[in-house]
Symmetry: C2
Subunit: 234 residues, 2 copies
C-alpha cells in the first residue's frame, strides 16, 4: 500500500509550493517588517509578505533569496528557514504550501531601495501592521516569536545594525525586540565578557552630546568562543 503509493504518486495532483519572507529591520527604536501591496485577487490591494513560487531548478533557500530580491531589492542578507505552512485552506485559489523564511537586514543599506525599486513595498512597525493577506499575520507572529527567542542565544542581532555600532544602540535593539528594559551596566558586562565585539578607534559622529565609542561584531572571535564550548547568551 504505502510503497505502491509512493511509486505512482508522481502522477498525483501536487500542491503548489511557494516561499514567503518575513523581513525585519531595525530603525531608531522600532522594529519594522517589509510588506508588499498585492496587485491582484485574491486580497487585491492588501498587504502581504514578499514571496512567490519555487522554481524546479532552485533550492528553497535560493528561491527565498530570489523572491526577496525580485520583489524588494533586498539581497545578501541573513535569511533562515522559519516553518512550513500547509493548511489546506490557507489560499482560496487552491492548495498552496509555503516554506516561510525570516530575514534580518541592515536598514541603512535598504532604506532607499525598498521605496524606489518597488513602489508597492513599504516598511511597517511590527506594532502597527495593516491587515495581511492569506495567513500572513500568523506567519509573522511565528517569525516574531522566533526572533525574540533566537536573539538571546545566537548573535543575530548584529544583522540588524550597521557594521559599526555603539553599545547603546545594541542595547536599544535588544530592548525593542524583547520588549523590556535592560540594565545598562549588566548588559555591557555580559556582552564584553564574551569578547565577540571589537572596540574600534572611532566614535559616533554628529551627535549633540558626548560621542559613544563604536564597536564591530567579530565573527572570528565568535567562532573561537563557540569552539571553546561557550555559548552566546544575552
Amino acid at each position: 500500500m504505502k510503497n505502491s503509493e509512493k511509486q505512482y504518486s508522481y502522477e498525483y495532483p501536487r500542491p503548489a509550493l511557494t516561499v514567503d519572507c518575513v523581513v525585519f529591520a531595525y530603525d531608531e527604536g522600532e522594529l519594522r517588517v517589509l510588506l508588499i501591496k498585492r496587485g491582484e485577487e485574491p486580497f487585491l490591494g492588501a498587504w502581504a509578505l514578499p514571496g512567490g513560487f519555487v522554481h524546479m531548478d532552485e533550492d528553497l533557500d535560493t528561491a527565498a533569496a530570489r523572491e526577496l530580491e525580485e520583489e524588494t531589492g533586498v539581497k545578501k542578507v541573513f535569511l533562515e528557514q522559519l516553518y512550513t505552512f500547509g493548511a489546506v485552506d490557507r489560499d482560496p485559489r487552491g492548495r498552496v504550501v509555503t516554506v516561510a523564511y525570516y530575514a534580518l537586514v541592515k536598514l541603512t543599506n535598504y532604506k532607499l531601495h525598498a521605496s524606489t525599486d518597488a513602489s508597492d513595498a513599504a516598511w511597517f512597525s511590527v506594532h502597527d501592521l495593516p491587515s495581511l493577506a492569506f495567513d500572513h499575520q500568523y506567519i509573522f507572529d511565528v517569525a516574531f516569536k522566533r526572533l525574540q527567542a533566537k536573539i538571546t542565544y545566537e548573535p543575530i542581532g548584529f544583522e540588524l545594525l550597521p557594521n559599526k555600532f555603539t553599545l547603546t544602540q545594541l542595547q536599544r535593539l535588544y530592548e525593542t525586540i524583547l520588549e523590556r528594559e535592560i540594565d545598562k551596566r549588566n548588559f555591557r558586562k555580559r556582552l564584553l565578557a564574551m569578547d565577540i565585539v571589537e572596540e574600534l578607534d572611532e566614535v559616533e559622529q554628529d551627535v549633540a552630546h558626548r560621542a559613544a565609542r563604536l564597536y564591530r561584531f567579530d565573527r572570528s572571535s565568535y567562532k573561537r568562543y563557540l569552539k571553546e564550548g561557550f555559548e552566546f547568551n544575552l
Copy 2:
C-alpha cells in the same frame, strides 16, 4: 513581473511534496529510531525514514501522522515539524521537497506493533544506523540535534517514557540523549523544584533491589508553572 508571475504560476511544473518522520524511542539506555526498508528503486532494500506524499486534502501535520500510522502502526504520538528539505537533487527521480517531522513515542506502546504490523520496519540505535536512502541521514542528524536542544528547555522527554516512571529512568533518558553524565542529586533537585511531576503512591515492581518510587508528568502543573513566568530547564 513578480505579480504576473504569481498569477500564472499555477500552471508551472510543481515539485512533488512529501513528509518524512524521524521517530525516536527510548529503550533501556538506548535511543532508537524507526526505519523502514525500501521495497523499490531507487535505494531498493536500503533503510529510510517513514514518509510519503502529501494529499491534496490534508494538512502537513495530518499527512505526517497518516504516513506514520500507515507505514509503522504508530499513532497518536508527539509529532512536531522539524525542517523542510528541498535541495534540487535530493531525490534522483525528480524534484521532491520534503517536510520533515520528528516524533517521540513510548516504546512500551509500540514495541510489538512495529515488528508485526510492518515487517519492513525496525528500530535502530542512533549510534548504529545503517546507510540511509536519499538525504535521510542528514535529516536524521538535524532531528537528533533538535531533540538534544529541545529536551533541555521543553518537557518533551516524558513523551519517551511510560506514563509512570522513576526519577532514575528519567535521568538515564537525559544522559542518553545529551550523551553526558548528570549528577543524581542535582538532577532531582532541579526537577522537583519545578513541581511539574507528581509523586505517586506506587513503586516499581519486579526489581531485585530497593524499588524506586514512581512519578508522573503533570501537564496541568506544567502549564501553571509556565503562566507564572518560569521556564522548564534541565
